[in-house]
Symmetry: C2
Subunit: 337 residues, 2 copies
């Protein structure tokens, strides 16, 4: 008897994906990407779902209910942004333990609405279930996309430039501080790291700009960590990648946290997760457009490497030469937070 | 400090619904009906979500994993049928306790696929979370509907005939037997009741036929019990209702179960819940079409009463005269199963 924990989250997804699914010509994108994309006459519907559960995604005290509300909308918006869609409407399922207060629910909805207002998302329904277990909230986000604007994980080609928005690693350092109980006793930079863990800002405007101006060949949002999510692009596209160590935009909180240890800071930025930045590939001729895009949006756009041949894996090029990196990032189905 | 359990499921839904929601002209139907209906250019998208959680909706042993898979798709299809939509695509979120086996997940997907095949639904994505709590599966079902085919809860008018599909009460008797531990030692009729609880068959074909041939003024699916769901129509439409006691299509399992006690059998049929039949209202001139419709589909269609004036509540007319009924049915947020 094999328990699910033995094959892990990605093993289980592979198993589910490998089932004989009835052919449906309305399914443009099915199981395994950030979103499903479905044909509805002349329109393409985008659907994604993501949940936050106490004890699984966070421990009591790490997030207040307003944070939970913000974050559960934000992580879904991030998935829609990653395929080039426009999020519109959310369904919310609440898993409520007996002792939850009405105030906590109000706070949760405040957080969802605040993020929803910024991202153009309205809650239109849901479900409520009393549960003898931990609090959880599951959101399904629906939206639309244009046929010629869909960006899949599978379009990266050898020679393409790999680009990432913003900075990496701060959110996971914030999570580390919360886990270690050192949050609160820390610096302003650490407060920033914790805020990034609690209230990620999905790169929706950036996604629109990337699609309109850079003709991206592939895109994904970084939830599990840059390396882990880059692997998803590599597998779907059948390519390898070389990253330039000195180009990785390590968050200032990461550098503070690890003091002078550059190797540890880099590792945290590459594998930490929870960044909700966009990782995408473009033809190298579009690189020259990045500075203007960055200036217009007030967001960093950093070329961090190149797509290489299939089977090459991920290589990290530094001053001491190149080395191969093991597949990194963290598996939500692995050890609980 | 008010706990959520004090205001109940419907109290909480009212509270959520009363929040100031940003105006969105794309929302044709929002919080509070069986589904959300959303404008997507020329297309109307239907979205609904419903979950099954062990310990909340059923206890271990009441459903095997194939039943859970069947039922979680079926209850969502039932909601789409209730608004006149056509279900298409499902997202599935799994809440997995540590000790679940891969075989159990395979069985769950077998059940979802079997119901999906019959109802034209394909699973296109989802989410997986390891949970320190009970097993649960949450499904969001997406589909489409035609503008002139949408049936809301709010269109019932005085003088309309109230109609219900199939028979009532058997599923809740099956649930009773499972709860009392008397299932298995019972008759063939009881096996039928338990099967109705485990594998409800949503009235999707019937919904299409009702819409195409009867111009229904309102419709809902019976999940909480006929009386409770009739109240939803009455509140949304601003009307009352009178039911004819001798017309209520009481399931044969209910009659068996309560022996000669007609009053208890009737009460079970009116308030038991879990039927997943359609309850709808039509102009009385369409009543004559019901026999042909029933013959064509092999499904009972029973006129059970009339819509009356606002404020009249629900009255039950029997041989001994009329009496007013209290609001019945069961609240999922009340005492757990």
């Amino acid at each position: 008897v094999t328990e699910v924990s033995e094959i892990g989250e990605f093993g289980l997804i592979d198993r589910i994906r490998s089932r004989r699914v009835p052919h449906d010509e309305d399914v443009v994108l099915g199981i395994g990407d950030d979103c499903a994309i479905l044909r509805r006459g002349p329109v393409l519907e985008v659907l994604t779902t993501d949940c936050l559960v106490e004890g699984s995604h966070y421990q009591p005290g790490w997030l207040d209910m307003t944070d939970v509300g913000w974050k559960v909308i934000a992580v879904n918006v991030s998935d829609v942004a990653a395929v080039g869609g426009v999020p519109k409407h959310a369904l919310v399922t609440l898993f409520l333990p007996e002792d939850l207060t009405v105030k906590q629910i109000d706070d949760l909805y405040d957080g969802m609405e605040r993020c929803g207002e910024e991202m153009g998302v309205v809650v239109v329904g849901g479900d409520i279930v009393k549960i003898n277990g931990p609090f959880g909230v599951s959101v399904t986000l629906a939206g639309v996309c244009e046929r010629d604007e869909i960006v899949l994980r599978s379009g990266a080609r050898q020679g393409d430039t790999i680009v990432v928005t913003g900075t990496l690693g701060d959110a996971s350092v914030g999570l580390k501080a919360l886990r270690d109980g050192t949050a609160g006793s820390e610096s302003e930079t650490m407060d920033g790291c914790i805020a990034r863990f609690r209230r990620p800002v999905p790169r929706l405007r950036e996604s629109r700009a990337i699609i309109e101006q850079l003709q991206p060949t592939s895109m994904i949002d970084i939830s599990d960590g840059l390396l882990s999510d880059l692997w998803h692009i590599m597998e779907a596209s059948g390519v390898g990648a070389t990253l330039e160590a000195q180009e990785i935009p390590i968050g200032s909180g990461v550098i503070d946290f690890f003091g002078g240890n550059e190797e540890e800071a880099l590792s945290q930025a590459l594998a930490g997760g929870e960044d909700y930045e966009l990782l995408f590939t473009i033809k190298s001729r579009f690189e020259e457009k990045l500075p203007d895009l960055a200036a217009g949006l007030g967001t960093k756009f950093t070329p961090i490497g190149k797509i290489t041949a299939k089977g090459a894996g991920v290589r990290l090029a530094g001053q001491a030469g190149e080395r191969e990196l093991e597949r990194g990032g963290f598996d939500h189905f692995g050890p609980a937070v």
